[in-house]
Structure formats: structure tokens, C-alpha cells
Symmetry: C2
Subunit: 216 residues, 2 copies
């Protein structure tokens, strides 16, 4: 049995849109936000490695600084919540070890028993790729988190706006990410649409299914 009816799912994905104007007075409730953070944490990733950090910016002064690094797009300051999707730079053996330790913490067993899995991940992610390829791989994973987040917000009837039009280097500087070994990839603002946002009335534009889905 479906937990959510298929038609509800499709309806909510049709309801959502890249919100241009948020109602600055309507906040996402603490309960809803806790679920969205949990959803981010639960995002799938390759090997389960979670090469990311989600930075939730509530501080209005920081938001103002980010606004200047976002082509003045007002969603940055008006949205109830703002998430910066960052990745770990230069993923190394340490991160793999941390992950293996976490597996043992959650499931029991020993790190020795996982040495094959560990070596496989080191071979694939750390030794098998240069720094650029590692960041490309990590960026792919964080976009899964973005997709998950956008679908989750829609299902909670919360509006969101994914934003690539930002200056990642300035974000890193403002948020102090470099010293944390992180770098900004993409941003999502979330909250509730303003009644005045005419974009909410526009018909959604998608290519026809027969142009996008090829069945073999």
C-alpha cells in the first residue's frame, strides 16, 4: 500500500514552484523544520558517505551579507529558512575512517570486519580520483539532498526556491567554511509564498512526457 497516494505526490510536485517572493512574516514551524532537517540527514548518498554539511542560516546579519553574494535575490533574507548545501573539500582517508567508525557505532561489529569496504571506498573515492573529481562526485551527492529537500518541502506544503545564482567563494568566506574544509555548492530558501508573488500563478512549464521519458 502506498503511504502517500500517487495523485497527492504528483499534485504537490505540480503545486511547488521556485518561489520568487516569500512572505517574510510566515515561518516554518519548529516541528516542520525538525522534520526537514531530519530529511536532509536521511538523504541517500553513494556508499552512504554523506560528503556534506547543511548550513542553516537564521542570523539576519549573515543573511544580509549573503544577499550581497546572491545578486540581491530577496529570497535570501525573506524566506523563513535558508539552507546552504556545502560539500567536504578534498575528501581523504580520514573521512572514510570516520564513516566506518560511525557504521560500527550504529550497527556494532568491528572496524576490522569492514576493512574490505573501507579499502573499496578509499580506492574508489580517494585514490581513484583527483581533488577535482572528488569534488564533482561530492557535488553530485549534495544535489540528491537538494532534490530530496525540494520534494519534502512540497509534500509539507512548504514553499522553496533552489538557487544556483550565488557566489560560492563569497559564501565560503561569509560562513567561514574554508577552515571547516567545506565549500558551498547550492542554496535553498524555504518558507511560504507571498500573496503578491505573481510567479505562483504561472503555469508550470515542462517538456511533454514523451520528450523526456524514453521507454525501451
Amino acid at each position: 500500500m502506498n503511504i502517500v497516494a500517487p495523485e497527492i505526490l504528483v499534485h504537490q510536485l505540480g503545486w511547488r514552484y521556485a518561489t520568487k517572493q516569500f512572505d517574510a512574516h510566515r515561518k516554518i514551524s519548529a516541528k516542520e523544520w525538525a522534520a526537514l532537517e531530519e530529511a536532509l540527514v536521511l538523504t541517500p548518498s553513494s556508499f552512504g558517505l554523506q560528503p556534506w554539511k547543511f548550513i542553516v542560516v537564521n542570523d539576519t546579519a549573515i543573511r544580509e551579507k549573503l544577499l550581497a553574494a546572491s545578486w540581491g535575490q530577496k529570497q535570501i533574507v525573506d524566506a523563513s529558512h535558508l539552507v546552504v548545501f556545502a560539500i567536504k573539500k578534498n575528501l581523504a582517508e580520514k573521512e572514510i575512517e570516520d564513516y566506518v567508525k560511525r557504521i560500527v557505532e550504529v550497527r556494532g561489529g568491528s572496524t576490522e570486519a569492514l576493512s574490505g569496504f573501507r579499502d573499496m571506498m578509499v580506492g574508489s573515492i580517494v585514490r581513484g580520483r583527483d581533488a577535482t573529481a572528488r569534488e564533482t562526485w561530492a557535488a553530485h551527492q549534495v544535489y540528491i539532498a537538494l532534490g530530496n529537500f525540494l520534494t519534502c518541502t512540497a509534500l509539507l506544503a512548504i514553499d522553496a526556491c533552489p538557487m544556483e545564482g550565488i557566489d560560492p567563494a563569497k559564501y565560503d568566506e561569509i560562513l567561514g567554511l574554508e577552515k571547516l574544509g567545506l565549500t558551498t555548492v547550492v542554496v535553498a530558501a524555504a518558507g511560504h509564498r507571498a500573496a503578491s508573488d505573481k510567479h505562483s500563478q504561472h503555469k508550470k512549464v515542462r517538456f511533454l512526457k514523451e520528450h523526456v521519458v524514453l521507454t525501451l
Copy 2:
């Protein structure tokens, strides 16, 4: 009001896992699959450009060929449905024009009225990036679709397995994607877990929320 309760959302994301063994006899219903295809079509993308094609492989002979290009991972043949997430290679002005035409088709108005938007997209995507950067950008978008798909399947209580461990070049060859101007990025198998899949019993491993979410 939330369309889906926050606790249901979190529960389903906890329920899902990268399914290792599918029950080859349990199929996703036509109604469910239609909703999942619609969900793919509705995936958000930067500018709404949808630089992708979703290839649904039902043909068993093709699936057998893909198995050989997927390190023999049996999900490729056992899953009810298999989706190959492909991107448009070398996105050019033509694709921007097609999109602008589609906007006019859906919303009315004229392509002339959208010339500023058109020029902005051409500047950002086509002129502002080389072929590699364009593919990187398109790959990011298709990972949003993957994230959306994995969350949607979980909410329908359908199992799925995202798969990066494939040979994209061989996939392109087997599926004839090159002549369509497409290239394979990632794959997802979907269906229902086999009772014998011990991985479904393993506790989900995620870093603690305080390690993954940073609130400023």
C-alpha cells in the same frame, strides 16, 4: 496544513534503503509507475531547462546487456523498473530555443517577449561555460531528479537503489544514446525488496544531526 505529516515523511525516508535484492516477481503497478514518471517530469531544474532524458528500460535483453556494464549487480535485471538518468551533451542555443518555445506553448505570449530571458540563459549556460562545465551543470540537475525519484518511491512504499557503479560509456552504446546527443550519468532500479535481502534489516547509518547540520 501539511499534505503529508512530517513524521510520515521522516518515517518513509528511514524505511528506504539502497535495495540489494529485488523480488523479481513483484512489479510496480501501472498507476504507480505513471505517477513516478510524472514526478520525474516535474523535477525542478535550473532555469527550468530540464537538460535530461529518463530512459526506462523494460526490455529484458537490453537489461541483460546493461548488467554486464554494471559489475553484475543483479538489481539491473531483477528490479521491476530501471531508469537511466541521462543528460543532454553539449547543450546549445537550440535547446534554449526549444525551451522558450515550450514556455510560449504552455503560457501563451511570444518568444520575442522572452528574448531577455533567452539571452540570459544563453549567456549563462551556453556562452558562459565550456562543454565540460555545461555537462557538469547538467549532471547536477539530473541528480536533483535522482533525489526527487528516491524520495517519491519511498513515499509510495516502493523500494529503490541508486547506482553509480556502472560504465556510462557502455550504457551509452547499449542504449544508443550518443546519436541522441545524450550521455548516461546514473541509474536507479525500483521495485520491491526480496524477503531474503538482509540489507533491509541493517540499521540505517547516518552521521549525527549535529555533525551534518550547522545552524548559524
